[in-house]
Amino acid sequence: MHTDTTFLQGLWFILIGVLWAGYFVLEGFDFGVGILVRALGSDDVEKRIIIHSIGPVWDGNEVWLITAGGATFAAFPNWYASAFSGFYLALFLVLAALIVRGVSFEFWGKVPSARWRAGWEWALAISSGAAALLFGVAWANFVHGVPMGADHVVHASLLDLLHPYALLGGVVTLSVFLTHGALFLSLRTTGELRERAAQTAKRVWPVAAVATVGFLVWTLADHGVDIGVLLPAVLAVACLTSVPFVMARSGGLAFGLSAGAIVMFVATLAAALWPDALPSTTNHLFDLTLAEASSTHYTQVVMTVVAVIFLPIVLAYQSWTYWVFRHRLGRDDYEGPVTPLAVIDSRRAKTNGGVDPSVAGAPPHGA
């Protein structure tokens, strides 16, 4: 039953692509920063700065993935069912990595012991790296297709998903996210840490560039040079290759370019996938098309109304969060004797004109 893709199906495919692109841009730097916590943090203060650079936002960034999953379930239930059951063990590894990563932020600061902290730093770095790698592997497999019969039930073991093309996809996301995270860190910190982060971005960048070019050429070779796939691929490469040349002039622009590269990378993969949701390597007659995977027109109308109203609101308050936490973090923010109630006192001092914030106090409680 191969029918044409409707307008709403197309819209939801694009929206899900937008959610994934948003997830990779935002969580991409979270992953990069997470991987670098031990490599770049020379002491506890620097490690705290690194963690705090994403502290207020990482959880909100992760919701992009949750919403992408929910949107896929609602708009293309058969895609959700085939892919999630078909990528079973790979997805379990992703979930395990996300679980470990999520708690390592919170647990890290809870106990002021060197061994405890080192443990959670390793947990954070390894789980961030694993997740960054696995998402590339997963997306490469989406585009490449999986062994699947006419019933759209995937029969693939974990090893079936680890073919060279998929592994190269994993190297792309890992190295690009690492570059992206280092650029983010150089934007959000000061002093030596900022320098080291910028150096790291420059050092990882060639790997990211080579892997991305290789992967995209491979994708084009597989799918035929279609303008819809070629254009975003060229843009992705253009964005990524210009990163080191603008870094000295503007760190913000360099970060914007790495974000642009990630968006265009997702756009390339989505364009290569269209009009399929999940191709079959068994036989192309068994490809799961978007039209076949789709929910009803009514459900997609409902979801469109909800998305049109609420997606802009979400974008507005998430952007505002980045505005609130736009200040660079440096050692000054973390050192120096300030007491727990000083905030209130300093607020009061602003209005009443004067209480010495160093007088009031409460017992120390290591955070």
Binding site: R48, G55, P56, D59, G60, V63, T67, G69, G70, A71, F73, A74, A75, P77, N78, Y80, A81, F84, S85, G86, Y88, L89, F92, L98, I99, V100, G102, E106, F107, W108, G109, V111, V154, S295, T296, Y298, T299, V302, M303, V306, A307, L311, Y317, Q318, T321, F325, Y334, P337, V338, T339, P340, V343, R347, A360, G361, A362, P363, P364, H365, A367
Partner: protein, 472 residues
């Protein structure tokens, strides 16, 4: 164990684990927001210390609740692909809305609250606390709307070409009368969970003679608050019983282990013996005459159908098969849930009476009793959840899809054993660390009262910046 049993065990284990932390988070987020509001309104710093102390418990719980929640969403596709295909057109919508409307709100504003003490105005900062709290409550609504559709499908048609249920009316799904009662029952249960946790922590600190202003004031707020929430939970639960009897009579019959239809049916408090189909040996030792009829029908001599008759009726309607859930489990989870509620009610009432006695300390036996109170809400939440989900069996969507037709056909024994073992190990470590950290916060206790004016030197200044005390 079959593949289906393993998939079901996995869902049960991951859900029950997740459901330890969700009610704690919802309840504590509300309590924290209330404390912060009191500080904002009165300027009394004890409320700020309360905010910070209770937030520590909320944050540990939230961290574990959030990460285990991701598993919940992905699990439908992973282990229950047939289910996802069958219900996706309907079930996916509230899940997507939950992400877009609730999870974004909750997580973004939690980040702002956690790191924003010094970056936002006090008013704006307080707003972020309430938006976080609102996000947790909203997410509960959407997921309960999705679950209520499984208990009582509405607003759909079955498409026999595509072999799935299709959405006809989203408002029918979102305002299903099942969710309109399940939501207040669950949210009030979550507030009770938060309140009881506060009471138990205060009880522990008083027992250790570590009571200070934070402890006393928290206890005085938590006791009446929890009394109200636990009573309201019961009131909504009582209304749910009648709706349940209307929508899923089998669940009600199983809750009482009543095999034969009768008028003026009693409610038994305690039963011994096995819950087999023709229970000759099942003896109901203490019964409340006419109790079940009152609960199910609000009338003294109301007729309550028995398991055997309902089973026959369902066989006629849905074809041959067994439509009886595990009666023993239904019978006991129902009573444990109610029992936990009654004990919590007694703790609140007792605490309020004992606190009224001027200049007298709360007796030790009572404080020990409150420690038990910390576990009662978890027991109540668990048994309530298990009761409603297991009582729906053999259906996954009542009347439409059986659980045995819902799992992923391509996920085999080995896959399930690997992931089940993985979840048990990861969750085991999480609960050990989470529990240990909470006990650590408990033993550490709240910040001390500031010294009265002119009373000795101020305590040594801590190295920690105040706005970062809660941040990692």
């Amino acid at each position: 164990m079959s593949v289906l049993d393993l998939a079901r065990s996995q869902f049960a284990i991951t859900t029950l684990f997740h459901f330890i932390f969700v009610p704690i988070t919802i309840g504590m987020a509300f309590i924290v927001a209330v404390c912060q509001t009191l500080h904002y309104r009165t300027g009394n710093e004890v409320y700020l210390r309360m905010t910070r102390f209770w937030a520590r418990f909320m944050l540990i719980s939230m961290a574990i609740g959030v990460v285990t929640g991701i598993v919940q969403e992905f699990q439908f596709g992973m282990n229950w692909a047939q289910y996802s295909k069958y219900v996706g057109d309907i079930f996916g919508a509230p899940l997507a809305m939950e992400g877009l409307l609730a999870f974004f709100l909750e997580s973004t504003f939690l980040g702002l609250w956690l790191f924003g003490w010094n970056r936002l105005s006090p008013r704006m900062h307080l707003t972020t606390a309430w938006l976080t709290c609102f996000g947790t409550v909203l997410s509960a609504y959407f997921i309960l709307a999705a679950n209520s559709w499984m208990q009582h499908p509405v607003g759909y048609t079955v498409n026999h070409v595509t072999h799935r249920a299709e959405l006809k009316n989203i408002f029918a799904v979102l305002f299903n009368d099942t969710v309109l009662l399940a939501f207040p029952h669950t949210i009030l249960g979550a507030l009770t969970t938060g309140g009881m946790l506060v009471i138990a922590v205060c009880g522990y600190l008083l027992l250790r003679r570590r009571g200070n202003e934070v402890v006393h004031r928290s206890l005085r707020l938590a006791l009446p608050f929890t009394l109200v929430t636990v009573l309201a939970t019961m009131v909504f639960g009582d209304s749910q019983a009648r709706l349940m009897y209307e929508q899923q009579p089998m669940k009600m019959a199983a809750a009482e282990a009543q095999y034969n239809t009768r008028n003026g049916a009693p409610f038994s408090v305690f039963a011994t013996g096995s819950f087999t189909r023709h229970p000759k040996s099942l003896s109901k030792d203490i019964t409340i005459p006419h109790g079940l009829s009152l609960l199910a029908t609000l009338s003294w001599d109301g007729q309550v159908k028995g398991i055997n008759e309902i089973n026959l009726a369902e066989q006629k309607k849905y074809g041959p098969g067994d439509y009886v859930p595990i009666v023993g489990v239904e019978y006991w989870t129902f009573r444990l849930m109610i029992g936990a509620g009654i004990l919590m009610l007694l703790i609140c009432l007792g605490g309020l009476l004992l606190l009224r006695r001027r200049n007298k300390e709360v007796p030790k036996w009572f404080l020990r009793f409150t420690l038990l109170g910390g576990l009662l809400p978890i027991l109540g939440n668990w048994t309530g959840w298990a009761f409603t989900e297991l009582g729906r069996q053999p259906w996954v969507v009542f009347g439409l899809l059986k659980t045995s037709q819902a799992n992923s056909t391509n996920v085999g024994m080995t896959d399930l054993i690997i992931t089940l073992t993985g979840y048990i190990v990861i969750y085991g470590v999480l609960i050990a660390i989470g529990g240990w950290l909470m006990l650590r916060e408990l033993r550490h206790g709240p910040e001390a009262d500031p010294p009265a004016p002119g009373e000795g030197a101020p305590p040594p200044a801590p190295a920690q910046r105040p706005e970062l005390i809660l941040a990692y």
